[in-house]
Symmetry: C2
């Protein structure tokens, strides 16, 4: 695995293709994530109550996914940004699990998300293998902390993955 | 104002006195923040439904403030960490406002919080003037984005503060 600061830099650089903000392009980036996810991973729609049958076109018109799109990209920017500050990165992982408790997510999704996210980023920019590996490494550390925290909370987790 | 990376470094350094995590000391740091706030700024208790009359001793025994303590310190660590990444820092400010919408906070509190936080940090470590100024500068940028976002959302804001 590369060093935390190398991973941070590679992830941060790739996130330039998915900027967040209040401008039209930045808002669309967030919507585009969910259009991509709903179009390519329709099984994941089950976690979005009321939007279980949404098409990418429905996502485009939805005020909910306009907000949610910024929220998910912000989370990825925070993860990229804090990867060299293990204490903050892991606390953010635990807090993200806490906030998702109500959605009863299938535990492996905490890792699987990053494959979806990298595939989305590839719709926006060309990613080299090193950058894809950086996101995979980041996702591994994130998911491990999620699994550990789920276990600490007495919730279903991914056994054998926690160290 | 110092450069964003100088401000980041000063804030990050001071946060070493308020580490977060699952260990006893780190969990107590979060509880200590609310004990300090409830003891020294009792008027702010109104924003914590059900805990409006809590004493610092009540906070110490509360599972709610054990979690909430980590949450508030995490937010401060994220702010310190992202200050040199304006896009992420400002998006995090807007998201924090979104999450607090239900509490109908008095708008000036978005800035005033940082004086409370610095006073808390001073119970943990010695802060030089440069570090206090760094938190004040960070708080100013954070609050300005909060006020701008409140205005964009059609919510009460601090007039004359938004640029």
């Amino acid at each position: 695995m590369s060093s935390p600061s190398e991973i941070k830099n590679l992830c941060q650089k790739s996130l330039e293709a998915a900027k967040i903000g209040t401008g039209e392009t930045e808002v669309q980036n967030g919507i585009d994530f969910y259009k991509f996810m709903f179009g390519n991973f329709p099984d994941l729609r089950v976690y979005f109550k009321g939007a279980e049958k949404f098409t990418p076109e429905d996502v485009q018109k939805s005020d909910r996914f306009k907000k949610q799109g910024q929220r998910i990209l912000l989370a990825c920017h925070i993860l990229g940004n804090t990867f060299d500050d293990e204490m903050t990165f892991k606390a953010y992982a635990r807090e993200t699990v806490n906030r998702h408790r109500q959605f009863k997510m299938d535990p492996p999704l905490w890792k699987a998300f990053f494959a979806v996210f990298v595939a989305f980023l590839e719709t926006k920019t060309k990613l080299d293998e090193k950058t894809k590996k950086a996101w995979d490494d980041l996702g591994e550390v994130f998911a491990k902390e999620c699994y550990r925290h789920l276990k600490d909370c007495g919730l279903p987790t991914v056994e054998g993955e926690t160290k």
